[in-house]
Subunit: 245 residues, 2 copies
């Protein structure tokens, strides 16, 4: 467990440098330090991001770049995605005021937590949402529910900072596998299911595979448990192959 | 009491049109409708404000312009100012999470409430702060406590919206005089005190007069009570004049 465990901020495919800068600024306003960026549209470094960070320049300079969502979340235990519209998915959804106290408990227990934001126009892809543990939607008036990424970040980080001022929770939480272990499980399982033509109709695969990942992820297994499940699946798989051969 | 009583947003001497637009956008995101602007630096209308309002265009077009702070607050019962730095003043200070539930109670009781924001660079003048009833300071990390006006507005309006979702509080609150009654009292009293050279040393007037206004305002008097105090002061004043004459 890192000594000063803090949530990591992950921007997925951000478009405008000024938005990256505004997020870094808000991070520095509310005590966050580590920024990860997945495939920024305009490359990296981005001069406009540094210009608009206004106190968050250090965060911009220390930001790390990743090729895809899975790489950026490999060491993360629990990922919270901020989404504008509700997704039709079996995920817990909470507003930031309710989600951040829970998140603080995770951080206090030493888990690596990520706050994930999608691209400005389109938001996160469903296959990325699936691999997050919970969704946050900022409550807005129905007449204008469009918040830009900088506004959303301010609200979420502000709620983080309110929680961060509270004393650490002494409670121990069960160990939970980092995302790269889950990614390994999903890759293995998807390959098996594809090979046996589990979905039959290709159209159905997308939703069925999302539901299956959601359901497995909700188990919040430890690294050992993920390994056990992978071993069990492999045994079943190999037995089946023998039966065929 | 207005049927749909909502807090009024007052921007005092805002500088950049894009900030006015961003505030209007955040108002529309969080269900606020009435924007008042005191002496906008670049005049009015401001094309940039409308361009950047993004869903809050109607708020920009309906915004009303005032020459000074007192005119903009004449019909307001309770004014909450958002300030970046703590002022050395006898005012209640709270963070938005604590202040907005109280504000909601005032709104539910039919009082006209204002959320006041000062100019980008300098913030509100002390003589304006004095005439507000409470200050809000957004909690930030010590390493970067500089929030811009758009960020501050998002946080305050978001906290408003969280409260606005709760059922109305049935509690009745005592009637409270609108600001124009207080302005009348202060103008009258200041004239008296100047004429009798109450402060002796001009340097001391600023602080002493601020303290006196603060202390009077804390009484939260009704319009009738303000009238009584004004009558009492006038009587004392005229008696003194007779004595002199």
């Amino acid at each position: 467990m890192p000594k000063n465990n803090l949530p990591v901020v992950i921007l997925v495919r951000p478009q405008l440098g000024q938005n990256i800068g505004a997020v870094a600024r808000a991070m520095s306003n509310f005590g966050l330090k580590e920024l990860r960026i997945v495939a920024p549209r305009d490359g990296w470094p981005n001069a406009r991001a540094a210009e608009t960070a206004s106190g968050g320049e250090g965060i911009i300079h220390a930001a790390t770049i990743f090729a895809d969502f899975d790489a950026a979340t490999a060491d993360i235990h629990v990922a919270y995605a901020t989404t504008a519209r509700p997704r039709d998915m079996e995920k817990r959804v909470a507003d930031p005021g309710a989600a951040l106290p829970e998140l603080k408990t995770q951080v206090d227990a030493g888990r690596r937590v990520a706050l994930v934001f999608g691209p400005e126009r389109t938001g996160l892809e469903n296959e990325e949402i699936v691999r997050c543990d919970a969704l946050m939607t900022i409550p807005t008036a129905p007449e204008n529910s469009s918040l830009n990424i900088a506004q959303s970040a301010v609200v979420v980080f502000y709620e983080w900072w309110k929680q961060a001022q509270l004393p650490a929770v002494a409670r121990e939480l069960p160990e939970i596998a980092p995302k790269e272990d889950w990614q390994g499980l999903f890759t293995q399982l998807e390959a098996y299911l594809d090979e046996v033509n589990y979905y039959r109709v290709a159209d159905k695969k997308i939703i069925m595979w999302q539901n299956l990942q959601n359901l497995l992820l909700r188990g919040a297994w430890s690294a050992q448990e993920v390994r056990s499940v992978r071993g069990m699946l492999r045994s079943i798989w190999e037995r089946k192959r023998k039966g065929e051969g």
